[in-house]
């Protein structure tokens, strides 16, 4: 667990062929989709009663 935490906190690069890179790649993808779907949903919600 400590090793994992250290791994996650270390500085590194995205998409690098190491566990941290793979984690960051999917973290970025998850965040992009969250922002994207969130903003669409919000816009739909504020406009649907018109």
């Amino acid at each position: 667990m400590t090793d994992l935490a250290l791994l996650l906190f270390q500085q590194g690069t995205t998409a690098h062929p190491e566990p941290i890179g793979i984690f960051r790649f999917f973290a970025a993808f998850f965040l992009i989709m969250t922002f994207y779907i969130g903003a669409w949903s919000f816009t739909y919600w504020i406009s649907k009663d018109e």
């Binding site: 995205t14 941290i20 992009i32 922002f35 669409w40 406009s47």
Partner: protein, 445 residues
């Protein structure tokens, strides 16, 4: 005083930038494409007198106005994050592209003003429709100009011009600026078209009134014409773009086409396959509802599905057995094992050219049927699912292609670059192989 090197725990600062920029681009591309499609639709409504174009254009314009805030908020947050996390790099960019950023800011301002004015005077200019349509196109023009400015920056980061940065024209019109801009211009229409098609499909499946079913059925058709029509142009423009990258940044080209990141293009080929087959299947289905029966066209389209499948398979076959080395997807000796029919030349070229030709053929048949009209509101559920599949796939395509361009500068990460061969990922200026020489330093030592 040295500038602080801030870091972001867990996800790292690169992910922060990637997340904000990718999200922003998904909205910015939508807004640019949607404004132009809405203005074109309004114009179509004006000349054909069909009220569905007007209803569509107005609703799309309203959605753009509402969505603008999300796109703009992400842009501002991104610039703030860039200044905070990459201050040296941002300084270099400002030195090189101050005037470009300035123009971009004013184009953005112009876009905001005209988009809001365009939507707000819809009723006021109801009897001066031509003028109102012009408003929409001007808003689209401002958006395109803003995109052009940022494309100069983005393309320069990958292919810096072989000239001092003081040579404004060569810096702005660097080797991949025009192909990137064309690629994004066409991509905006395709992306928005598929989103419209998916939205129309979603609403069609939920519609209970007959007039709504007819309208949303038509909306799915209108969206897929834009989406697929522009999609089939993309391979040739993308080829031109890649050719520019190969000539100016060969290591970056090798990384994304032949090296460790070539799986991104295998993913792209899969996305292309899904969108092409789903769109063609939709066309075949739709031809059953042509007002004038077109059985021959329909049979030809069925044949086109077969060819689409054949060509997409050629595109999907990987070059070697090292599929995604980053997650251990390596089989049978990896790069040493060449897969039959997987090489770029001639098979991928055959696949891409074939896909385009079949695409043109299919859409020509479909437009021929469109000219005589369809019976709306009778489409099956699965045809609407095909549209929705295209929508999800096009979003993944956008994200994958954005990642591809940005990750290509990393090459082997020894070092990766923010400006290819000029500024490293840790914001150090290197002048040895930098095409712009030491001009990035400006007047400082």
């Amino acid at each position: 005083m040295p500038i602080g090197d801030l870091s972001v725990p867990i996800i790292g600062k690169n992910v922060v930038i990637a997340t904000l920029v990718q999200s922003h681009i998904l909205f910015a591309a939508f807004i640019i494409g949607a404004v132009l499609i809405a203005a074109t639709s309004e114009y179509m409504g004006m000349i054909t007198k069909q009220p569905r174009y007007e209803r569509f254009a107005r609703n799309l314009a309203r959605f753009v106005v509402l969505l603008f805030a999300s796109g703009a908020a992400l842009a501002i947050t991104f610039v703030l994050a860039l200044v905070t996390l990459f201050p040296l790099f941002f300084s270099y960019l400002q030195n090189i592209f101050f005037w470009v950023f300035l123009v971009e800011a004013f184009m953005f301002l112009g876009q905001i003003i005209i988009v809001y004015a365009w939507y707000n005077v819809w009723d006021k200019l109801a009897y001066r429709k031509s003028l109102h349509v012009v408003f929409g196109f001007i808003a689209g023009f401002f958006g395109l100009m803003a995109m052009t400015m940022i494309d100069a920056v983005a393309s320069y980061m990958l292919t810096p011009a072989d000239a001092p940065v003081t040579e404004v024209a060569r810096t702005f019109l660097n080797q991949t600026m025009v192909p990137l801009n064309m690629h994004r211009f066409v991509g905006n229409f395709s992306y928005v078209g598929f989103l419209i098609a998916g939205w129309g499909a979603f609403r069609y499946l939920r519609a209970t009134r007959e007039d709504d079913r007819e309208y949303y059925d038509w909306m799915g058709h209108w969206g897929i014409i834009w989406g697929f029509g522009f999609l089939i142009i993309q391979p040739i423009i993308g080829y031109g773009y890649l050719k520019g990258i190969r000539e100016s940044a060969p290591d970056a080209f090798s990384t994304i086409m032949l090296g460790e990141k070539s799986w991104v293009f295998n993913l792209l080929a899969i996305y292309l396959a899904i969108m092409s087959i789903a769109a063609t299947a939709y066309f075949v289905h739709k031809l059953r509802f042509a007002v004038v029966p077109m059985e021959t066209l329909r049979k030809l389209s069925v044949g086109a599905i077969g060819f689409t499948g054949l060509f997409t398979v050629l595109n999907i076959i990987p070059n070697d057995a090292s599929l995604v080395p980053q997650i251990g997807l390596v089989f049978l000796g990896g790069e040493d094992t060449q897969i039959p029919l997987g090489s770029m030349y001639p098979y991928k070229y055959i696949g891409l050219i074939g896909l385009m030709l079949v695409g043109f053929f299919v859409i020509a048949l479909y437009l021929r049927a469109t000219a005589s009209g369809f019976r709306w509101g009778q489409a099956s559920r699965w045809s609407q699912y095909a549209l929705m599949v295209c929508t999800v796939t096009v979003v993944f395509t956008m994200v994958t292609m954005g990642y591809t361009r940005e990750t290509s500068r990393r090459v082997d990460n020894d070092p990766g670059y923010l400006i290819y061969q000029c500024v490293t990922l840790d914001q150090q200026l290197v002048t040895k192989n930098c095409p712009a020489g030491d001009s990035l330093k400006g007047g400082s030592e």
